[in-house]
């Protein structure tokens, strides 16, 4: 190595070092409010993490275009990314890094398994943490955390709202449902959800005729469907991935089983369910977090802006992360400071109601545990090849088709 290359190497290293210094310096100039975003931005769940980030990004863009945080002299929100890689340990160290970079609050982390330990770290460091998407009940139950604010509904509320929908809709039609059969795929997702369904059915006075678990890679499910037909419940509640969801619907048509199908998001909310079944997908129900057609002012406009900016349709996760950012803005305006403790107190007083909340219920608030107590699911029905919101009535986009007509009458 001659001396000129050597000095070139030295110069490059010096520049690189300077660049890292620049990065590590606090980004908090007075006219900027750094906000930590904790999401899996690489690894196997990165596509979902990246989509979650879009909700934050759209909200920040709107807030800054609208003059930033007025109580802080028009300071602009700036997103600071912490990549969890879908890994709880990485997530914990990212929380520490974000805290050192003076973020006012952290929002994340999509996965319940990452959100649970990272909220603990945020609690210890005294950083307000808003959880828009991760649903596990345990995130807010029995922990007594002061800095965790969970906009996402609890996991157990999926089953609760599924059953509530069935009870309310069948009563409104004059023929109250009395019994259900549960069918779920036999991994953790299916079995844990089914436990919630059994509890919810009991709470609302429905008889569970059977709770059937099945292997999701099955090639033939005819005999199980024959059993469901024989039990003749008023509805079948399913927890399925996409391929088994399709196979079950096909087999129900083949055996002429005329029992309403109520799915649990996952396979039944996947657009591939409609692609695979065509018109046979019609009239299937599923619970979901949100839908772009819900009857609230502003939702159509926001989802159109989202589609224009990112080229993909806005989904429930993005709506939740969007609202989390709006809740943070609201708290910053009321706190009038970037002090984390003051911001925490302001968040605890949150009350975003009516059309200001694009989620399918009236008010975003936080109870003692940090849970948004009014959070609820929507029920969608596939009509003419599209998922349409049919429940709760307050935000329904269209009338429910109930009772569901027989296969032969479609």
């Amino acid at each position: 190595m001659n001396s000129s290359t050597r000095s070139a190497v030295l110069a490059v290293s010096a520049l690189a070092f300077a660049a890292t210094l620049g990065q590590a310096a606090p980004a908090a100039a007075q006219d900027e409010v750094p906000v930590g975003i904790l999401l899996p931005l690489s690894g196997s769940v990165a596509p979902i993490g990246i989509n979650n980030r879009r909700g934050h990004e759209l909200a920040v863009e709107e807030i800054n275009a609208d003059g930033g945080i007025k109580a802080l002299g028009g300071a602009k929100l700036v997103l600071i990314d912490g990549d969890t890689q879908g890994n709880p340990n990485v997530g914990i160290s990212e929380v520490e890094k974000l805290a050192r970079r003076d973020v006012v609050a952290i929002m994340g982390a999509y996965q319940s398994g990452v959100t649970f330990p990272t909220t603990q770290m945020a609690e210890r460091l005294g950083v307000p943490y808003i959880d828009p998407v991760a649903i596990a009940d345990s995130i807010t139950e029995g922990r007594g955390f002061k800095y965790t604010f969970k906009i996402a509904p609890k996991a157990s509320w999926y089953a609760r709202d599924q059953v509530r929908f069935l009870v309310e809709t069948s009563e409104a039609a004059g023929e109250p449902a009395k019994s259900v059969v549960l069918m779920h795929e036999d991994t953790l997702f299916g079995t844990s959800t089914a436990e919630g369904q059994v509890a919810a059915a009991k709470e609302f006075g429905l008889e569970v005729l059977d709770s059937i678990s099945y292997p999701k890679d099955t090639a033939d499910i005819t005999s199980t469907i024959a059993r469901v037909k024989d039990l003749d419940p008023d509805a079948v509640l399913l927890v399925s991935y996409i391929n088994d969801a399709v196979l079950i619907t096909k087999t129900m048509k083949e055996l002429d089983v005329n029992i309403p199908i109520i799915g649990t998001s996952a396979g039944h909310i996947d657009p591939a369910y409609i692609d695979n079944l065509g018109k046979d997908a019609d009239l299937t129900f599923t619970v979901g977090e949100w839908n772009a057609d819900i009857d609230k002012a502003g939702v159509a406009e926001i989802s159109a802006r989202f589609h224009e900016k990112f080229g993909v349709a806005m989904n429930g996760h993005a709506a939740e992360t969007y609202m989390a950012t709006m809740a943070l803005r609201d708290a910053l305006e009321r706190a009038g400071t970037t002090d984390r403790a003051a911001l925490r107190d302001a968040l605890a007083e949150t009350e975003i109601c009516g059309d200001a909340n694009i989620l399918p219920y009236d008010c975003i608030r936080f109870d003692e545990s940090g849970q948004s107590p009014d959070a609820q699911m929507v029920v969608l029905q596939i009509l003419d090849g599209e998922h349409k919101t049919v429940w709760p009535p307050a935000v329904a986009a269209t009338e429910t088709v109930w009772p569901v007509p027989d296969w032969s009458a479609r």
Partner: protein, 290 residues
């Protein structure tokens, strides 16, 4: 309630018929070449994709594809044997297993790359048509899959019994050196056996596309079922494989009702499998030393 069991019995027989064609291909390859083809289910998956894309892109009916598949997949099997399998014939089982297992992974990855990991299924107008027997309902597409599979199993069996090539194949299966001594071209027989085996399993896949989804990961389940059937029926034994397949189909289907949970239906099959291995290791229909 008896209707439910009758329904389970009939749908078990229908899917069992398709299992038979899958297993017959496996047992033929094993009988003649003494090679266990772990990539068997992946050829089934390729057959399904062939039918899917022929229908979606070219508008070719799956049953038409099944006819075209016979020469096409025979040729594919021939080519795979000539290039990949031939070097390991007669080598240790470990090497053969590594090769066919590797082939299976390669084909899955290839399918995922080419066709995406999404589950896809055909939407055919006639797919919903059902026939009713004694209070049970069976889709015509399932009846067709059963009939085509059974017909092909019979045709294969007649081919092996009646034609010179078939007899030569059986001779290879019986005694390699002896058939060499009487002038049978072993290498050609291997290619024919592999070609026939692959054509069988691909057609089995194609007959299922009207009622089953297609995905890159669908193969291993069928490979596993075919192993169980081949062991039940006696290695290399074609009528045994057919009988074994029908038994497995029915045990699976009725097992899903009888067992406390349908998740345990495979358990019923494997319990049967272990019992056979313990008490009749030559298979239900095999003769000792087959």
């Amino acid at each position: 309630m008896s209707d439910v069991y009758l329904q389970a019995l009939i749908s078990g027989l229908m899917i069992g018929g398709v299992y038979a064609l899958v297993a017959v291909g496996l047992t033929l390859i094993f009988g003649v070449m003494d090679i266990i083809n772990f990539a068997h289910g992946e050829f089934l998956m390729f057959g399904m994709y062939a039918a899917y894309f022929a229908s979606v892109l070219l508008g070719v009916d799956p049953y038409m594809t099944a006819v075209l598949a016979l020469p096409l997949f025979f040729a594919l099997g021939w080519a795979v044997q000539a290039t990949l399998i031939r070097p390991v014939v007669g080598k240790s089982h470990a090497i053969q297993i590594l090769l066919t297992l590797g082939l299976s992974l390669l084909m899955q990855a290839l399918a995922q790359y080419l066709f995406s990991a999404d589950f896809q299924s055909l939407k055919l107008d006639y797919a919903a048509a059902t026939m009713q027997i004694a209070g049970t309902r069976v889709g015509w597409t399932r009846v067709a899959a059963f009939a085509i599979s059974m017909g092909l199993c019979l045709a294969l069996w007649l081919f092996l019994q009646r034609t010179d090539t078939g007899k030569a194949l059986r001779a290879c299966a019986e005694e390699h050196e002896g058939s060499l001594a009487v002038g049978i071209d072993l290498r050609r027989m291997y290619k024919i056996a592999f070609g026939l085996g692959i054509a069988c399993v691909a057609i089995a896949g194609i007959t299922m596309t009207p009622f089953l989804y297609v995905a890159p990961v669908i193969g291993p389940k069928f490979t596993l079922v075919a192993f169980v059937i081949v062991v039940l029926g006696g290695l290399g034994n074609i009528p045994g494989a057919v009988a074994g397949a029908l038994i497995v189909g029915v045990v699976e289907s009725v097992g899903a009702l009888v067992m406390p949970s349908p998740s345990l239906k495979d358990l019923a099959v494997y319990v049967l499998f272990i019992l056979v291995l313990l008490f009749r290791p030559q298979g239900l229909f095999g003769s000792r030393g087959a």
